[in-house]
């Protein structure tokens, strides 16, 4: 989940009777599965929640370029380098679609990016973990993009039209990345040396729990979920999506011949689901609050890119103005 812990500003749902005429009409439209479009009336809280969620999602794509970019210069073959570079390029593209979708709500891209840089806006907690070996490029594709897809597939039906349409494009590319990531791990496990296999297991050990945290707090600790679900921004609860992800991922883990760093992981014949151990919620909230292994580095890298590029953007603006004057 690239957008976790999105504030909706309301902890209690209104019934249709409690709503004013505009709001009721809006809610009925949502209930009838008709998409909300930029020019439609929408409650202010819906607009703000979506701006928060879509910007968080966009920021995640952009910050998410950094842990992978960390290995771009060190990819071990030309094919892997090309794949990784194409993937990072797609991520920049996803960031652009998402900022565009967000701007249809009246938000400004630069202002929202400022919020990221001064810590007012969040991005996915997963990108605050360091990439320490090459297998992390496979694991991020498989687990991180895998978790993102489980979250984004239902978002293709989210109530806000521009966001839903962005997700359709994003999902196609993400599925491709996920397969490539898994392929990196499978190659190393099936044809690699013992050292390469050890890299894969080490990587899974480090990314397993952070990937499960991508779905956000457990349902009893998700005060904003009810409103997001009533608005059909979210279509499933955090725990539901987390379970779905786990159920599809464990067989893939077994196929790799690797293990999860969870002694409580087991299949429950009766429910048909995998059961798993307790997530370290302290760690989750620490990371979300800015105290993860790479939070400071990631935000600083983004801030530096924008600050160091200020003179370039100023030059582009100055040149465009000159051209306009000359044309006039």
């Amino acid at each position: 989940m690239y957008a976790q812990l999105v504030e909706t500003g309301s902890s209690q749902l209104k019934t249709l009777d409690e709503m004013g005429p505009e709001e009721r009409q809006f809610q009925e439209r949502i209930n009838d599965e008709i998409k909300i479009e930029p020019k439609n009336w929408m409650p202010d809280a819906y607009r703000k929640t979506l701006i928060r969620q879509i910007s968080q999602h966009a920021h995640s794509e952009i910050v998410g370029m950094l842990p992978e970019g960390n290995w771009l210069t060190r990819a071990p073959t030309l094919k892997r380098k090309l794949q990784l570079m194409a993937k990072i390029q797609d991520e920049a593209g996803h960031g652009l679609y998402l900022y565009s979708a967000m701007e249809t709500l009246g938000a400004d891209r630069d202002e929202e990016i400022d919020k990221l840089h001064d810590g007012r806006a969040k991005y996915s907690s997963i990108f605050n973990y360091p990439t320490l070996n090459w297998a992390d490029m496979g694991t991020i594709g498989w687990l991180v993009d895998g978790a993102a897809i489980v979250n984004q597939v239902p978002l293709q039906r989210t109530s806000y039209g521009p966001y839903a349409r962005a997700m359709i494009r994003v999902c196609k590319e993400e599925s491709f990345h996920q397969r490539q990531g898994y392929q990196i791990l499978l190659t190393m496990m099936q044809e690699g040396t013992d050292e390469q296999k050890a890299m894969v297991q080490d990587s899974i050990n480090r990314f397993w729990w952070p990937s499960l945290m991508m779905f956000g707090p457990s349902d009893e600790n998700s005060p904003n979920s009810a409103q997001s679900m009533a608005w059909k921004i979210k279509r499933h609860s955090n725990d539901e999506l987390r379970q779905r992800f786990l159920d599809q991922t464990v067989p893939q883990l077994e196929l790799l011949g690797c293990t999860a760093p969870d002694p409580d992981l087991k299949y429950n014949q009766e429910t048909g689901h995998y059961e798993f151990g307790e997530i370290d919620w302290q760690e989750f909230f620490d990371v979300v609050k800015g105290n993860g292994p790479c939070n400071r580095e990631r935000v600083e890298a983004r801030r530096n890119a924008i600050d160091n590029g200020a003179w370039v953007r100023e030059a582009a603006v100055a040149y465009a103005a000159k051209r306009q004057r000359r044309a006039a």
Binding site: I62, L72, P76, M85, Q89, A92, L96, M188, G192, E314
Partner: protein, 279 residues
């Protein structure tokens, strides 16, 4: 021309000695694309705007793709040479050429190994290279070697886009603000000494021209100058002298101090895990 020290004995005995200049020429093309692609890889997450992030990755991706094509062809020729002399010998592929050769065996232009610096340095380097690359690839697309003609024709489409973009940035920065103008002029002045190598042919270039494989570098130089002059004028920049002292050597494996570090980073995994055959 020997490509790799440990292959000297093989090449001396090879029945296909005539392939050596071609192999060397392909390494020059492939290595320049590879090294410049690597400079782009270092820029990930550092662009001045999101759109540029995308563009830098896009250009880098094109260059790595071209490197793979040129080096793949070079490796096939080397393997054929080797098979003729020593059937059990080591077989090369594009990856072994990229990741297992040391700096003295690299044949890239000195220009492309220069550090990224600021955005003016990056765009200046790109523009000076692209202006040459487009005209060279245009010539190579008419090569007597059909494989080269094919790769060049595909690469030319990409390089044409690269040149459009880098020209636009040189103009924007040169004719933008006072600061951007100063930076762009400084970048150009610093990079200029590496342009001689683009235009000055040696015996390999002569051999390729004689075989109808590569275009005359003098023609490429004339076109390069026209492109550079046109863009620099529009950018309100002063063109350094064509008679300036030129730093050369990349095409014969004599590099600047920058390449060693670039390769140390790029090659670290295959070198640290020599037993790993697949990744």
């Amino acid at each position: 021309m020997q490509n790799m020290a440990h292959r000297n004995s093989v090449q001396k005995n090879s029945a296909q000695k005539t392939q050596a200049p071609l192999t060397d020429y392909l390494l020059r093309l492939g290595d320049s694309a590879l090294v410049l692609g690597q400079r782009h890889a270092q820029l990930c997450g550092k662009a001045p705007a999101l759109e540029e992030e995308l563009a830098l990755m896009n250009v880098g991706l094109d260059l790595f793709g071209q490197a793979r094509n040129w080096l793949g062809y070079a490796a096939e020729l080397m393997a054929a040479d080797l098979m003729a002399a020593e059937p059990e010998g080591q077989v090369y592929d594009a990856d072994s050429l990229a990741f297992r050769r040391d700096a003295q065996d690299f044949r890239n232009l000195l220009l492309v190994e220069q550090p990224n610096g600021d955005f003016a340095d990056i765009m200046g380097r790109q523009f000076l290279f692209d202006a040459w690359h487009v005209h060279l690839l245009d010539g190579l697309s008419h090569s007597s070697d059909p494989r080269i003609a094919e790769v060049a024709a595909k690469s030319l489409k990409e390089a044409t886009y690269h040149l459009r973009r880098s020209s636009e940035w040189v103009i924007r920065l040169g004719d933008g603000t006072e600061e951007s103008h100063t930076r762009m002029q400084r970048a150009l002045d610093n990079l200029w000494q590496f342009t001689g190598e683009l235009l000055q042919g040696d015996e390999i270039d002569q051999a390729m021209l004689a075989a109808g494989i590569a275009p005359d570098l003098e023609t490429v130089a004339t076109r390069w100058k026209a492109t550079v002059e046109e863009v620099l004028e529009e950018a309100t920049l002063v063109r350094p002298s064509y008679d300036a002292w030129m730093y050369t050597g990349g095409k014969v494996g004599h590099h600047t101090e920058h390449l060693g570090f670039l390769l140390a980073e790029m090659q670290y995994l295959p070198r640290a895990y020599p037993d790993a055959t697949v990744w």
